[in-house]
């Protein structure tokens, strides 16, 4: 198993390298001179030269790329152009608020949509199932921005149930500000998730073990929420694991709309101010997360189904 994990992790190295090449090319070669973008058009030659020297931008391109690789290997991305703090600090600040927004939303969305999907799959083809699926598709067809704008207007302005905007860093004080964005995130995710889980679960409910369970005299809730759920765990866990990188990246739209200082907002600010050290570190962080969650998902498969390990 350890060898399997190591081999899979090794496969991730070319992907992270590929990501580094693409970001490097996109922002350095095609995107214009980062220093000019950051200092603006009215920079004096001295200022430009000073900043270029400080960040090693006067070196040939391949040297700069090698320097970038070294940054990736050591996970030390230097100082932000804008705040002059270590990049790690800038990113670390955003992680907490982003996770506080996305983790509860993922938990609630998964529990709710799996439950709805179990019920829909049980009544598959019948009116209840059909109405639930129509509702899910309709929910998927509404723009994310419309959910946010209308949600904020109705639930924080028209009926002031929630805070309309803002954030407080305290471990307790943050929740009143986060509850509406979390609610919106749940509503947005429910449509997609319910549909996905329903089709995964619908394949289970016709199987023999379900008939056996009913024949033993078990009630429907027990059959659905114990027997069927256990057998549908593979697609459920896979889907939850795939969303892990997105937990850390937060939600750019929700964060900027509600003024939550998460990583989505950090990225937006970095793009606005051409803060390249932050953009580079962010991209690598996300791609590493992608690779690691992919490996973890494969390991999970191999653990559930030992036949996979051998191939």
């Amino acid at each position: 198993m350890t060898r399997y994990v190591l081999r899979r992790l090794l496969h991730g190295v070319p992907i992270v390298l590929g990501v580094s090449v693409i970001t490097f090319l996109l922002f350095y070669v095609f995107g214009g001179d980062p220093v000019l973008q950051f200092l603006g058009r009215h920079a004096t030659p001295d200022q430009i030269a000073a900043l270029e020297r400080e960040y090693g931008l006067d070196a040939p391109l391949y040297i700069q790329y090698l320097a970038y690789l070294k940054e990736i290997a050591t996970l030390d991305f230097g100082l932000s152009f804008v705040t002059r703090e270590p990049v790690a600090d800038v990113l670390w600040r955003g992680v907490g608020p982003s996770l506080s927004l996305t983790v509860p939303a993922l938990f609630a969305t998964t529990i709710l949509s799996v439950s709805v999907a179990l019920i829909a799959a049980h009544f598959r083809g019948r009116p209840l199932d059909r109405s639930l699926m129509v509702l899910a598709v309709a929910g998927m067809s509404v723009s994310f921005l419309v959910y946010i704008v209308v949600g904020q207007y109705l639930l924080a302005f028209e009926w002031p149930l929630f805070h309309i905007h803002g954030y407080r860093p305290g471990l307790v004080e943050r929740w009143p500000y986060l509850s509406l964005p979390i609610l919106i995130l749940i509503v947005v995710g429910m449509g997609y998730d319910t549909r996905f889980y329903r089709s995964a679960i619908a394949e289970e409910v016709d199987k023999d073990y379900v008939t056996t369970a009913y024949a033993k005299g078990l009630g429907t809730p027990r059959v659905l929420f114990v027997h069927v759920l256990k057998n549908a765990m593979v697609p459920i866990v896979t889907r939850v694991m795939i969303s892990v990188p997105f937990l850390v990246t937060g939600s750019l739209l929700l964060e900027s709309f509600f003024g939550i200082p998460g990583l989505g907002g950090t990225l937006l600010d970095a793009l606005d101010t051409a803060d390249f050290p932050v953009i580079k570190a962010y991209t690598i962080l996300v791609s590493v997360l992608f690779v690691v969650t992919n490996v973890l998902t494969d390991v999970f498969y191999a653990w559930v189904d030992p036949r996979i390990r051998l191939s």
């Binding site: 693409i22 996109l26 922002f27 598709v137 723009s143 994310f144 921005l145 704008v149 739209l253 793009l271």
Partner: protein, 277 residues
Amino acid sequence: MIARAVTDRLRRDRGALVGLAIIAVYAAVALLVTSGLVATDVDARVGEGFLEPGPGHWLGTDRQGRDILGRVLYATKIAFSVGLVTATFSVTLGTALGAIAGYFGGKVDAAIVWLYSTVQSIPSILLLIAIAYIAGRGLFGVYLAFSATFWVAPCRVVRGEAVKVREAQYVEAARALGYGPFRILLWHVVPNTLHLSLVSFALAFVGAIKSEVILSYLGLGVQGEPSWGTMINQSRGELINGFFWQIGAASVAMFVLVLAFNVFADALQDALDPRAT
């Protein structure tokens, strides 16, 4: 005939027919706008700003006193051009790469899988912003950004199917007849993965329309012309003043088209599913 069976099955699906009819109506509007018959002067002032619906401005007017109905209709054209261009490019590219990867296997496959895994590991919003930024604000940047990111999904599914098709007897027969790999790809592999490409096309279309709203929010969307995204984005602050005609009109217009596409894509998937035969 497979095509016959599929159309028969689609014809029996009432949801699919309604979805298709709605898409046709939107396409007709887009064509009318393109040919200059409808919504000709979307920037003209037709009255005061923020008017409620009335004669001459049946869905009210926006801040600058422009007719919201005309702008919503015009935006249909933008939605179709973004959807069609993006879906055509991304699905063609994805299908080609996916079929090549799946059919040839080996190093070619590894290279293509590496390419899409890499693109997939970059946060899509970052890729979209970077490309839209480099290509310049406006429609061209939107096309390019979406095409460069949306090809991954069709590529993955087509590759998966091509791996199976490669082993099929008809492909083996074609090889035995001495056909070259490109003839086999074009005439035997691609047609047999086409059902997946078709569904991907509908999904890419929907994805493009929905993502356009996000790019507009970031100021990188369509410039100088009304799109549903720019309209929704403009009217963010209007709700608080009790004016919801603009956001309502743009959101509903978009919702109905996206819903129609989603329903149609579902029906298509069911009708094309070989397991159902």
